[in-house]
Amino acid sequence: VRDALLLIAAFVTSIAGMGWLALSMDVHWRQVCGNAFGSPAPTKRLRALGTLGLGTSLVLCLSVNHASIASLVWVMALTAAAFSIAFILTWRAHWLRLLFPPARPTAG
């Protein structure tokens, strides 16, 4: 059970990481919020969060399996996470606002 929970956490953090990386891109920020970055642009913060998310996911994978298998699980989890984010951006872009509270349409 512990391993299953840790693996689920690894998937969740990789999805969040990919989500933050996507939000750090102007075009996707627009998809999510409907307007361009405010100033100062949160690009750096989002990239740092994204890297942290993917890194945490690797640590979680390593805590469950032998390194040989954990590295494969991580790479495949990143792939699945990137697909999920791409499809969320296509059909339910506003969901990504959950990841980053400042990401909301600004009035006017």
Partner: protein
Amino acid sequence: MFQSFRSAMTWIHTWFGLVLGFVLMGAFFFGALCVFDREIDKWAIPEARFEVQPMPSFDRVLLPEFEAMSPSLETMQIWGIVADNRSSLIDLVSIHETSAQGDARTERVVKMLDPRTGKVTNGDHFKIGSEFFYPLHYSLTLDWQGLGEWIVAFSGMMMLAALISGIVIHRKLFREFFTFRPGKGFRRSTLDLHNLTGVVALPFHFFFAFTGVLIFVGQYFPIGTTQLAQLHELHEQLEIGESKIPTERSGHAAPLASVDAMMAEARRRWAAHGMPGEVGVIHLRFVGDANAHVAIYPAATNSLQDLLNGVHFNGATGAVLQVDPAPNAVQQVAGFLTGLHLQPFRHWPLRWLYALGGLAGCVCIATGLLFFVEKRKHQHAKQGSQAIHVVDALAVTTVTGMVIATLGILIVNRLLPDTLPAGWPRHDDLERYAFWFAWLLAMAHAFWRTAPVAQGRMAPAWVEQCWTITVMSVTAVLLNWITTGDHLLRTLSDTYWPVAGLDLALLTVAAIAALAGRKIKRRAENASMIAESVAQDAARA
């Protein structure tokens, strides 16, 4: 010849992708199915539908079967037992010499044993997953001179080239990393999906194409028997000299010691080294001789290198001869690279991700083919060329036709009676014929019903084959119920996932195909309405 590096790369990507895409699509699709090969086996062989069991007693259960399989102990060469961590029936393989017409040959007898009863199964069963889809994905089952393996390996090489040239010609690799725009016209959305499935799953595509090519390296760089033959022989002799494992019979008869005791000793040693595990593979040679050799390997479950932990015994005394040495750096790297492709482990989340990665590869190749057709069909229609008709027909054959062939073999597997009338071919042959015949029919239909593409219109073949897939998938699930009584409610409440999983997957395929068929049909109708109104406007003007 080319104006720029990019245009050269575009040429390679387009034309090699077109020619070899059909082969690669098969390699990826059947490769993805192979993630579940043992589960497909259980669907296809109702007798195998039970939980995986530990290795039964050799001395009491397996030995009598082997004695029955071999004509005599003097001619026995190898007895092998393979009980991997996902198969319920155990494979027994006996290889013995036959001296037909004076020259020494070997004969191989394979039986499947039910470890619960200790009885071999009756009849000739066909493991559709591990004995058909598996070889199909790397050799196309074209065995003559290893031709299929050469074709797939060359395609794998070109897949690597296509990945790299694809990165070169992709203008916005990072900017469009997460981009899929289904509303922006068919050509744009096809290209988006092609890029998305190619780029996001790039590590998967790269490593599977690369390790797939690597696994068969001995086939196309046979340096051990050519350039480095002498070194190879010398190395072999050195290894034999260092090893305590006998390489020939002593000539002194001696009965076989208890193999059960050897299995217990092997398990004890693995546990002592922090790698507790069940026995997966047993290998016996020279049984009945004082030089009898028994090798015991664990069933790989937890890491990619379990199979390197063999323990070797003297079969006559039961004493440990030697333990496989810890793999050196080269063996570890090789073990990792081949292990990541062959996936001996039981890690289900990773296996599912592999299957989805393989399907993403199929989507990537299929959208590449569709894009090729879409980009050229109007131009070809103006020129009156039939080339695009051929490409579209082949695309239908590979995308939907391949699924139809797969469903064909599953349906025929459930329709054939357990015992066939005298004079009929064996089960495996009949099921293979069904597969290729279904594919051939799909191809004929594809060529017949893609003719409108040459006029720049949508081919009806796509919709019709989607409906066919829906009907066939549901039929396969129903036939499984009728012939075995294992309907989904039962397999789900028993949580027997091998069969429930395949049934659910078939129903999912049916639903996706139905949805796709409806969408394509609606789009074709819209397109023809627009074309008509354009024609009417033109006539009025």
